[in-house]
Amino acid sequence: MERDATPAIEAIGLSKSYGSNRAVDGIDLVVRRGEVYGLLGPNGAGKTTLVRLLSTLVPPDGGTARVLGHDLLREPGEVRRRIAITGQFASVDEDLSGRENLVFLARLLGLGRRAARERADELLDAFGLADAAGRQVKEYSGGMRRRLDIAASLIRTPELLFLDEPTTGLDPRSRNQVWEIVRALAAGGTTILLTTQYLEEADQLADRIAVIDRGRVIAEGTSGQLKASVGSCVLHVRLDDPAQRAEAVAILGAALGGEVRGAGDPRAIAITLSSSAHGAASLAALAQAGIGLREFSLGGPSLDEVFFTLTGHGTEPPTAEEAPVRDGARSA
């Protein structure tokens, strides 16, 4: 496909408030054509609102954005001709069958009766839904629904596809299927903006990632850059006896010199390492002091750790007023 020189998304100071909750609080964003861009953040961070702004579903209170070269406010129609969205909440009709959903949406997009049926069958086939094509969507499993939902966004391949938490609530097998679809689409030249709560997902799929917290972009880069900002690896230990926690923290701190933190779990300790070689030595030091361990692991940082490092607070559950982004949207 031809690559336009203009970015797929170019947002400057985009803002949206619901009451006193600044869901999106002055976001600047540039997404290049053809890339998979990940918006990473916990529930209530503003990811969904940002997607709803960029897909013309809600108008911003402030800021501007151009999507595929067209101004969001002045030319929403031109934007809609080029995008598709698969929302966090099933954007297909539960009462209709899988095939009826696709044929109906294909007719809306201007396909003829026959072309609509052919395209629907082609998509059902490719997404492993041919056997369930005649069943009502309300009988589908979560993974089947999500696949149908994505298929519905591909009746006409969009230049830009929004995927809002495409794998939240899916089992690992369904999640892998969705990942495969995303990779195939990206290979076909579609730009993808995907939101996720999982660092691993952003890591697997996204060329670049923006970390979102309380309506703001707090970090941006490749997943390698983000992880490097947190430390190359993290040692997790779980103690036999929570009473020994203070002692264990002291020993680990002395041995490793990194930042020690605990989660809510009184047995758990996480510590950032500059090199994985130090991990083994610190475990030996704990054993010498007679501190028994239930588990230990050495691995890359989790979203929670990325968050802690970037914001000083974890991915705690959002407060009541910011959690239901969607409900807030409805009452506005």
Binding site: F89, D93, Q177, R330
Partner: protein
């Protein structure tokens, strides 16, 4: 997954036009009726029950015999049945609007009012089915429309037009109210006085003056008078005129409000 060349190069959508969009939404409304046949059975059972009950409950007392009362009642019960059906408009649309698929619609290049217009197509089918059921049960019970088949067809068409107009009120209700349960309650609150405080069941002559005054301006009364004329022969032009003017007026006021609300619904 997503193999077989199903992923194509990105393309820009060219809209097939407003009419195609409304047709597609109308087709969707029909599919929903197909998948929820219990709605249709509601539409058959309720009118049959009302017609039979009222005819034999009140017929002897009000008109001397059920047969004589049926001649008066049937056009009224026809109007009542179809108007009660419009409550479905609010309920179905409200349930529908709360689903994620409306996000998809609003992010697609489609004619904005098409989802609402398509919902009205589904209503049209419901209205027509209900009216045919009522006329059929009337004929079985002994109702004899003097104007014959043309009169019956004209009556059903007039009812469809009237109910479509009234339907816009319920589209607005569906857009304003959040909970489907509240929608039903609110709709009945509008519907009860409109249907009962009219000439549907009895001649208003014995009513107190204040009630007569309301009955006289109630558009449902004009509709029922027009239906009696169309079915029984000797259609009254002023009544038909009012019965057409009322839905036109309601549409003129409520349709723009509905579109505005729909547009602003986020």
């Amino acid at each position: 997954m997503a193999r077989n060349g199903v992923v194509r190069s990105p393309e820009v959508v060219t809209s097939p036009g407003a009419a195609a969009h409304v047709l597609a939404f109308g087709w969707r409304a029909l599919l929903k009726i197909k998948h929820m046949p219990e709605q249709l059975s509601d539409m058959v059972v309720t009118p049959v029950m009302f017609t039979v009950l009222f005819t034999y409950l009140f017929g002897g007392a009000l008109a001397g015999s059920p047969q004589a009362y049926l001649q008066y009642l049937l056009p009224g019960i026809l109007a009542q049945t179809v108007l009660f059906t419009t409550v479905y408009t609010a309920y179905t649309l409200n349930t529908d609007l709360s689903r994620g698929i409306y996000d998809r619609f609003r992010s697609m290049p489609i004619w904005k009012p098409a989802p609402l217009a398509g919902a009205l197509v589904g209503d049209l089918v419901r209205f027509t089915v209900s009216s045919i059921v009522v006329v059929a049960i009337g004929l079985v019970l002994g109702y004899r429309p003097q104007a014959g088949l043309p009169g019956m067809v004209a009556a059903v068409v007039l009812l469809d037009v009237f109910a479509l107009g009234i339907g816009w009120i319920f589209v607005v209700v569906a857009l304003v109210v959040r909970a489907p349960g509240t929608v039903a309650t609110l709709s009945w609150l509008v519907m009860m006085p409109l249907t009962f405080a009219s000439n549907v069941y009895v001649d208003p002559a014995t009513m107190p003056a204040w009630l007569q005054a309301f009955v006289a301006i109630n558009p449902v009364s004009h509709l029922v008078t027009a239906l009696r004329g169309l079915l029984g022969g000797g259609a009254s032009a002023p009544a038909i005129g009012w019965a057409l003017l009322a839905p036109a007026g309601i549409t003129a006021i409520f349709a723009p409000v509905a579109l505005r609300l729909y547009d602003r619904r986020q």
